[in-house]
């Protein structure tokens, strides 16, 4: 019998979605719960936020928590600092990582493989181990408690170099050879041929770095002392007191701090998903 002659499928007891969804939907709900709770608490009174068992459906919504949180601390400064921190490190990573990655991907020099292994090895060292040496270097540079000190150690990452190198190596070498014959310098090849063809990888790296910098807490905590140099995540921690915490204000601040990530996610959803699929890493 020809495939064309096959009888039409019997209308049956088929789910209108994949059976996998029966498993995935509860998982998604579990993942969503903390976020929902964050929003709920941010709209409760201090008393409701402290009550036990927790109030999951508040009787009234207190949007006033948002201006209250905003006015308790200089959140405007925090946002500006975070934006500077995140955007500068994204730009730095895109530039410096691609330069290093191109050298590792395509150039021949003594000790290249050895150096690359050393680069990779740094990925295996826990961040906490690097914290003190990094701090000492930044201190020597006289950059403690400044946005510069926040940014400098994060301008280039071994992870970014590794990721871009892997991507550059997948580009056909003939394109670069053709450009060489057409009269392009090494640097010209990187900027005119390789980078325009690496936009997916660059977008991925940019998003990962942005998320990482925006949500970074530990390094700002170590390097920043003054309130007006703090990025948002550090600023939020200032809402936590030693003896008591106003959870409703803290959650309102947290919701605000996540708005830029949400906006980026809405615009760059495709790249977010690809970045996780591409690297297998969700930092």
């Amino acid at each position: 019998m020809l495939p064309l002659d096959a009888p039409p499928k019997k209308p049956g007891r088929k789910l209108p979605f994949s059976p996998w969804h029966l498993f995935l939907m509860p998982m998604a709900a579990i993942m969503l719960l903390p976020l929902v709770w964050m929003v709920v608490v941010s709209l409760e009174t201090a008393q409701q936020a402290h009550s036990y068992p927790p109030v999951l459906i508040p009787s009234s919504l207190h949007f006033s928590n948002y201006p209250a949180a905003w006015n308790t601390l200089p959140f405007g400064d925090f946002f500006v600092n975070s934006a500077i921190y995140a955007l500068t490190t994204v730009a730095g990573n895109l530039l410096f990582c691609s330069l290093a990655a191109y050298a590792f991907a395509r150039m021949r020099f003594a000790g290249k493989n050895m150096l690359f292994v050393v680069f990779l090895a740094t990925l295996m060292v826990p961040y906490q181990v690097l914290l003190i040496p990094t701090f000492l270097i930044v201190k020597r540079l006289g950059m403690v408690d400044s946005v510069g000190g926040l940014i400098a150690p994060n301008l280039c990452s071994a992870f970014g170099v590794f990721m871009l190198r892997q991507f550059f190596r997948t580009l056909p070498i003939e394109l670069e050879e053709a450009a060489r014959i057409d009269g392009t310098s090494r640097l010209g090849i990187l900027f005119k041929i390789v980078l325009p063809l690496s936009l997916p990888a660059l977008a991925t790296l940019g998003i990962i770095q942005f998320m990482w910098s925006w949500n970074d807490f530990l390094w700002p905590l170590i390097i920043i002392d003054s309130t007006n140099h703090a990025p948002v995540q550090l600023g939020l921690s200032m809402l936590q007191g030693a003896h008591s915490t106003e959870w409703n204000l803290l959650m309102a601040g947290t919701v605000m701090s996540q708005i830029p990530m949400l906006v980026i996610f809405l615009f760059a959803q495709r790249w977010f998903i690809r970045s996780i699929a591409f690297t297998g890493i969700n930092q």
């Binding site: 450009a179 014959i181 009269g183 325009p196």
Partner: protein, 372 residues
């Protein structure tokens, strides 16, 4: 316009792989030379060294008078068409064509003029705003040619430019290439493994095997007078039948085939018979029996596969190991090309003759042609 000269050029890759072995070659000004050989014979490496993409281990490459070993690819004024075309995927056809000119800081107006000229020459006017991904194979090939030509280079290098096209398009592009060359007269070095391209396009062909030059000459000359058994087995389709034979007192014997070759030294020889040189026997012709296995009618001719009444031998034309053209065992089958009116029946035995002068004789030890 200058020619290209290779003097004793050798390329050894890490791991002691000798890709090109003391290759000497002169391409005259305006000449079309084709490097032909099976894959891995070093032809592409030779081309890449001329382009400046690979550096020779030893030897000198000259373009015109100038030794270019130490000159970078971009300063050699050569243009290259890659096998996969290497069009910049993120640029339109127009920008692809303009790119080599922009890199040389040519004024915008001049760039525009040249791009349009080349586009017209290669019928690309309609495609200028498209990107490579939106083009067919043949169109991409033309854009690649255009990008190489737009700069009016001294030397034009092509690496298997037609191998990714379908058969019909390949014939078309081949003719187009030939027209283009006779019109522009740019010195051209062309690499292919396809001997039809080599025979039809080249002023001269250079047959390479195992990194060594086997023979250099006009296509007809190489076909008529192969210098050794490798060339004999490689050029010509279907390939030459090679038989084991002996020479004694001016007479050569290979199975049933016996013919005179006055002055030949006694010893073992290889006798070569072109499939198209064999025909039904006429009185006095050297001849031998041919048992017909398979008949392939092609309309204008029939290709007959079978066994000859002589010991067939095979020659290693892939040359991945050992001696070039080394005789590596017994040949599987003989091939003859006959007139369709002489189509034999499968399973029958026919007697095929050959003109004395059309029999090739090679030394069995060295593989070199014996001309006496």
């Amino acid at each position: 316009m200058p020619g290209v000269i290779l003097e004793e050029v050798t390329k050894v890759f890490p791991g002691d792989t000798v890709a090109v072995d003391h290759l000497s070659l002169e391409v005259a000004d305006g000449e079309f030379v084709i490097l032909v050989g099976s894959s891995g014979c070093g032809k592409t490496t030779a081309l890449r060294m001329i382009a400046g993409l690979d550096k020779p281990t030893s030897g000198t490459i000259r373009i015109g008078e100038r030794a270019v070993n130490e000159i970078s690819a971009r300063d050699r004024d050569v243009a290259m068409v890659f096998q996969n075309y290497a069009l910049y995927p993120h640029m339109t056809v127009y920008r692809n064509l303009a790119y080599p000119l922009r890199q040389r800081r040519m004024p915008r107006r001049e760039v525009d003029k040249r791009v349009n000229e080349v586009a017209e020459m290669l019928s690309l006017e309609e495609l200028l705003k498209r990107r490579p991904a939106q083009l067919s194979g043949g169109q991409r090939q033309r854009v690649a040619m255009g990008r190489a030509l737009v700069r009016e280079p001294k030397v034009f290098l092509l690496d298997e430019p037609l191998s990714n096209l379908d058969a019909k398009l390949r014939v078309q592009m081949r003719a187009g290439l030939k027209r283009l060359h006779s019109r522009l007269g740019i010195t051209t070095v062309y690499v292919t493994h396809d001997q039809v391209e080599a025979m039809t396009l080249a002023d001269r062909i250079a047959v390479l095997s195992d990194g060594k030059l086997q023979q250099l000459g006009s296509p007809q000359d190489v076909y008529d007078h192969p210098a050794n058994v490798f060339v004999a087995g490689f050029i010509g389709s279907p390939p030459m039948n090679l038989l084991r034979g002996t020479a004694r007192a001016g007479q050569v014997t290979a199975g049933q085939l016996v013919f005179e070759r006055p002055g030949i030294q006694d010893g073992d020889v290889v006798v070569g018979l072109r499939p198209e040189a064999m025909r039904p026997v006429v009185d006095g012709m050297p001849a031998l029996d041919f048992r017909v296995d398979v008949v392939e009618p092609l309309g204008d001719e029939v290709i007959v596969h079978g066994a000859l009444a002589a010991e067939l031998i095979a020659v290693d034309t892939d040359a991945t190991d050992g001696e070039v053209g080394s005789i590596n065992g017994t040949g599987i089958e003989a091939v003859a090309r006959l007139d369709p009116r002489q189509r034999p029946a499968e399973g029958s035995t026919i007697r095929l003759g050959i003109e004395d002068s059309e029999v090739h004789v090679f030394d069995a030890l060295t593989g070199l042609a014996i001309n006496v």
